[in-house]
């Protein structure tokens, strides 16, 4: 994963050149400065995920904050069995999916979701060089289909992983992804 430019390079200070593993270790000992450097290196990937999954820039910012706060709270449970970036990304997916389930219980909150036009404006700014035709088609997918196809085809999660994170059967996930691809092909043709 490439590092994003540090918005506050001075805040990183002497920690800037330290490896992610070493930063995680320091953060696990309560060093919030080390955690800030982790945030600055990894926020781009987490925010991008949240933006595509939520399809709403303001909600993506809230979810990104939730992810890093949750990560800070759960750092003790990270044992280094996988890469920290993988652990954090998976945590982010769980936070986003959990938020979606809560939203489902308050169905009329759907009113608060921004329209695709507004979202695509942000995509143009924040994903320079992306293929807007594909981003638009993805944004127009139904929420369930959009989330699984983003996880599978953009972020490379396995079907089994998505099924576990969603708490649904493998066949359900495959059917959703195949349906999403069919809809995308139709929209793009």
């Amino acid at each position: 994963m490439g590092a994003i430019p540090l918005a506050k390079a001075d805040a990183a200070g002497p920690l800037e050149g330290i490896s992610i593993e070493a930063l995680v270790q320091r953060a696990q000992e309560g060093d919030s400065a080390a955690f800030e450097v982790l945030y600055r290196r990894l926020v781009g990937r987490i925010y991008a995920l949240c933006l595509r999954m939520a399809r709403n820039a303001q909600r993506a910012e809230e979810l990104t904050q939730d992810v890093f706060v949750r990560a800070w709270e759960r750092l003790g449970s990270f044992r280094g069995e996988s890469k920290f970036t993988t652990w954090l990304h998976r945590l982010a997916v769980n936070v986003v999916l959990q938020a979606g389930r809560s939203k489902g219980r308050r169905e009329s909150r759907e009113e608060l979701v921004g329209d695709p036009g507004e979202y695509l404006g942000r995509v143009k700014e924040e994903f320079p060089g992306t293929r807007i035709d594909i981003e638009r088609a993805i944004a127009l997918l139904p929420e369930g289909a959009r989330k699984v196809v983003v996880l599978r085809d953009i972020y490379g999660y396995k079907y089994e992983e998505i099924a576990t994170m969603q708490g649904v059967a493998l066949g359900t996930v495959k059917a959703q992804i195949h349906r999403a691809r069919r809809m995308l092909k139709e929209m793009l043709s």
């Binding site: 919030s32 781009g44 909150r109 691809r181």
Partner: protein, 227 residues
């Protein structure tokens, strides 16, 4: 040709997830079926294109201050007591242009919303304060908006804790702006009680709650940055 692989089989073939026997069958069929060749090529192009979309984006603003707030401000080597003392000693003022811009923006946005929310003549709510008093008003929000109400209450509490680092002029402008937004929220709520199904009114209410949250969040970040 009587048999064609179905959608699931074509997807699984593309991703090499078919059992060997089925894979050979699909492969042999595709080699001779232009229709399935086209289908498979389209699918492959789509999946390939999605795999090349960028996976990083830069947030439009720095989210760290809010995250650090929520982490409990546990900077290494700094006790809570020390931080409280430091907070009490510092007072900061927002730049005049920022105050002016915030005031104008809030007036324009909220004023437009108020105009939209019917031409009712309900009395204005009690003046907004930085204290959680505004939260009491939000307690009567429809359930769909309660999450926003909760966030507003939380931000108001944060801001109230940091009130002592803001100067009087800043507090006054914030309170005036919050009062305008609160009035618009109040009007939208009133109108929604008469027409609960109105999508326009729901959007007006959501927009004003969001504006209030944004304003409080910005103020809380200023407080944090100077604490």
């Amino acid at each position: 040709m009587t048999w064609h692989p179905d959608e699931t089989q074509l997807n699984d073939f593309l991703e090499e997830l078919l059992p060997q026997e089925d894979e050979e069958r699909v492969r042999a069929h595709v080699a001779e079926c232009p229709q399935c060749q086209d289908e498979l090529a389209g699918l492959s192009d789509l999946v390939g294109a999605m795999g090349e979309l960028p996976v990083e984006a830069t947030p439009p603003r720095d989210l760290w201050p809010q995250i650090q707030w929520r982490m409990g401000d546990t900077a290494a080597g700094t006790s809570q007591t020390d931080q409280s003392v430091n907070r009490g000693r510092r007072r900061i003022t927002l730049p005049a242009w920022q105050l002016l811009a915030a005031g104008l923006l809030v007036s324009l946005l909220s004023g437009g919303s108020v105009w939209l929310v019917l031409n009712n003549s309900t009395p204005a709510p009690s003046p907004a304060t930085l204290a959680p008093a505004g939260g009491a008003q939000l307690a009567s929000l429809p359930p769909a908006f309660q999450a926003y109400g909760d966030a507003v209450v939380e931000l108001e509490a944060i801001l109230e804790q940091g009130r002592e680092v803001l100067d009087e002029e800043t507090i006054q402008v914030l309170e005036e702006n919050l009062k305008i937004i609160d009035r618009a929220i109040h009007d939208a709520q009133e109108a929604l009680t008469m027409d609960p199904a109105s999508g326009v009114l729901q959007r007006v209410l959501a927009g004003n709650l969001r504006r209030k949250m944004d304003l409080l969040r910005q103020a809380a970040q200023v407080v944090y940055a100077n604490s």
